[in-house]
Amino acid sequence: MNEPKRHTENRWQRLLRSLLYGHDVDRNVKAKARLGLAIVAFAGIFSIIALRLVMFATTSEGHGGRRSVTQDAVATARPDILDRNGEILATDVKTPSLFAEPRKIIDVDEAVELLTAVLPDLDTNEVRERLSSKRGFVWLKREITPSQQQEIHRLGIPGVGFLTENKRIYPNGAVVSHEIGHVNIDNQGIAGIEKWLDGQGLAALHMAGLATDQLQRPVNLALDLRVQYALRDELIAARDKYKAKASAGVIADVNTGEIIAMVSEPDFDPNNPREATDPNRLNRLTTGVYEMGSTFKALTLAMALDSGRVSLSSSFDARMPLRYGKFEIHDFHAQKRVLSVPEIFTYSSNIGTARMALSLGVEYHKAFLKKLGQLDRLRTELPESAEPLVPKHWGELNTVTIAFGHGLSVAPLQAVMGISALVNGGKMIPPTFLKRNQAEAEQLAQRVIKPETAEKMRYLMRLNVEKGTATRANVAGYYVGGKTGTSDKVVGGRYSKTKVLTSFTAILPSDKPRYLLLIMLDEPQGLPETHGFTTSGWNAVPVGAQVIERVAPLLDVPPRFDLPKADQMLLVSAKEPR
């Protein structure tokens, strides 16, 4: 019985083997080969494991770093902003923020109760709602104090944790508000230089989560904090004294285009950005456009002198008001005689400047203002800018009024740029809020008027302070030159007789200007000591004088008492036949 069975088995086995391996194969050899294969395979696997172990061992120090990366996940650091002397204008401070992972919270009611006990300003219902949601991550409170963090940590609520965030601090508060701008709670720039920084690639770094504090280099502004503070202090005092709606001022370096100080009162505290949205607190110097009034006469005179067709000894008829259609142009300080060019400037004669501009023609006037950048939007680092209001059809009447600063509204900073070019030797340099040196400025500079014309403009400005409308700005020793400007404000579509915008543009020192100062007062009121006058010479000019006296030592402008009168200055420096 067994015999046939084994036989059949053998036969089956033989059949199977012959099917699987073929007829004449030695299984022992085959087994050895398989063993070899298995050894190689296992050796391979083990060597891979060994290799990975070595790799883990060598790179395991990374786990400390990895933890910190997750901690700084929302730490969108920003670079410090410093003034030109290295004083801090904006910096980051780390603050903890409280978050929760609702899925991990066991008892919502208990958590809400405990948290609101430590943070009484949390809204109970809102917290409950957030914790009951099915989301993986919710913020509970941003920017808590370290002691609150300690307390909450001690409560030991599961599913509640802290992330370190960067909080932007502006130690100087409102003093530098309009330049710096501010940031939102996620440390993204919303206005001013902060927004400009985001445009410089910082925003992309934030998006990628790579903006850690090690990478950031501080940004140096052209601003001088001390000068800025002094200017603001004087402007606030001026606003109170003359009961003006607003006051503004700029100090610019005429040779490099750097803005050393810029104040527009009322301003806001960047630590409390809610104030910034108030339209009354906007930056009047870049986002407002104004008819600059007589200040523009400096541009008209420079144009006339630069054309070569008018010299300092030319004269224009100012005996009668200038009639143009139904309009009649009067002089505020009417002399009713033929005026020479310096007299037109010092008496601030509307008729004279209008005639001067007319003698050169509309196109010439337009082209000159275009060259001086008064007709195009001025772009600086600050994202806020305003388009000048240029008349659509520029006829002769427009030239007449624009010659003395009405009918064309520009941003005051634009006027600063134009007048800087008139006095610094004729080079127009775009203004900047960042530090810039002389060589960089030379590269950007464009020649707009001849150096001789600039010389004459300085003379005229100085003359105006010695015996013109700006005599109250004659601060002893600083050789100030300047031009006043008073423009009637447009109220309800027509020029108001009582509401004015006064401005004063000063250069110091006049023989070799280094700085330009612009003071602007919006709707100053007459006072007993100004005899009720509201023109620039009574308010903006004395404010300018105070600012100069206070700021000049900070700007390293030494007072000199051996300076010639304006007339001699021109005789000495230029070869103008008079």
Binding site: E61, S68, I88, T91, I169, A476, G477, P553
Partner: protein
């Protein structure tokens, strides 16, 4: 053969313990590095806080307030500033001879010679 085996086993144990020691040390070092990094970060944050605080205390507005309250100083006028080289020469100090009686000399009729004091040098204005 057996000796060889024992030797190999011994070497294995030695190598293993050596590797363990290295590994242990490296872990210790890594922990120290992590700790120091954390400390550095804390210090850096503390420095940032202190810098912000210093900047806040150093604002011109605060200094002006303090100066107004505690000092009797006035703002400088431009006429109070001058260059060093416009200062007149300092008069030379007359050193009295040690033996002399200073008060007696003062009481005595002044001699005609005052040549020791050089007149202040005038510069063209």
């Amino acid at each position: 053969m057996r000796l060889l085996n024992i030797l190999v086993i011994g070497a294995l144990i030695l190598a293993a313990s050596f590797v363990y020691k290295i590994k242990f040390d490296s872990t210790l070092q890594a922990e120290r590095v992590a700790k120091l990094r954390g400390e550095l970060r804390r210090e850096r944050n503390a420095i940032a806080v202190l810098r912000a605080e210093w900047a806040k205390l150093d604002t011109p507005g605060r200094i002006q307030g303090l100066a107004d309250r505690h000092l009797a100083l006035q703002p400088v006028r431009s006429t109070q500033i001058d260059k060093l080289d416009r200062l007149p020469e300092r008069p030379a100090v007359v050193v009295p001879s040690p033996g002399a009686d200073p008060i007696g000399a003062m009481l005595a009729p002044a001699p005609d010679t005052t040549g020791s004091v050089s007149p202040p040098r005038r510069r063209p204005q």
